[in-house]
Amino acid sequence: MRTRTRILVVSAAVLTAALAGFSLAPISAPSREQVFEIPKGTWARRMAGAQIETLPDRIYLTAGVRDVLVLKNRDDVPQIFGPTLMMPGQNFSLPFDRPAEYQFACTAHASGQMTIVVDPYPNTPWARLSWRARDLIRRL
């Protein structure tokens, strides 16, 4: 009985510590950049009839954590990528410092639109916990 109680207390303590860690530890990322790339040969493959999506319809960023959208054109031809025309070999880094939902015209999408959602920096324990949960789900 004592052993079982001890196991329960230790499990509860570990769970509490884990939840506390996820809710109290500040959100950070190794880089503030979210990178998307048009690989070499994309245009040629599109011309051959392949359906290639280089950008998702919705991109999620977080102010103060991962808030710089980086687009890279590694193809041999100019490409309309997100909101802009990019030359071969060119990079485009677009920072976002205000949480909001941004709409961009984007001919690379069938809808002609691209949405960038910039979430606010998670300042409270609950916000950090839900941010981590959402981030995990999006990654999966």
Partner: protein
């Protein structure tokens, strides 16, 4: 057991301290607009300028150029963009403002005559230069800059769904950054100052 609880309490306290630390702020001296790397030379064009002279982009080498596309009948995006430009230029002060040129290219040559475009721009700032031309000329300019403009019937007339961003060109005539629609005059002042200081 007491040891474990003490350790847990200490961990929670430490995490609370770390959690209250402020998030990373944007580094000072960085652009608010999107940066091209490497920058490319802005394609030149020859249009009819609202000042009555041919409008060539190359004539503004040595100045920082705000290049945007729109039309005078626009009731949504264009007035906001041009008002933001005017406010930014005023905030820069007379000395710096002289080194900045706003160039506004119409997407609506049917209605935007030179005179009409000039009056429209002058209502924001008389130093702003507009460019108009034949539909084919303007289409080529839009193609060179990745600008879209779609004519949409509206009531008895039409409107344009057009790209709303602004290119910032440096003194060498290179496309350095792209400012999406909706940024404040202060953001433009920040980026213009960075380009003017180079």
């Amino acid at each position: 057991m007491k040891k474990l609880l003490r350790l847990l309490t200490a961990t929670l306290l430490l995490l609370t301290c770390v959690a209250t630390a402020a998030p990373l702020a944007a580094a000072p001296g960085t652009f608010k607009s999107g940066v091209f790397d490497p920058p490319r030379q802005a394609p030149n064009f020859s249009l009819q300028g609202t000042d009555g002279h041919p409008l060539n982009l190359t004539q503004y080498r040595g100045k920082v150029v705000l290049l945007a596309f729109g039309y005078s009948s626009c009731t949504a995006v264009c007035p906001v963009t041009l008002h933001t430009f005017a406010l930014a230029v005023r905030k820069l002060g007379p000395a710096a403002a002289g080194a900045v040129q706003v160039v506004y290219v119409t997407v609506d040559p049917e209605r935007d005559t030179r005179v009409r475009l000039k009056q429209f721009l002058a209502s924001f700032d008389p130093t702003f230069i507009g460019g108009t031309g034949t539909p084919a000329q303007l289409e080529q300019v839009r193609k060179d800059y990745g600008v879209s403009a779609r004519k949409i019937p509206y009531e008895n007339s039409y409107v344009y769904d057009h790209s709303s961003f602004t290119y910032l060109l440096d003194r060498q005539g290179r496309i350095r950054t792209l400012m999406p629609y909706g940024h404040s005059a202060d953001d433009f002042v920040n980026d213009l100052n960075l380009l003017l200081r180079e």
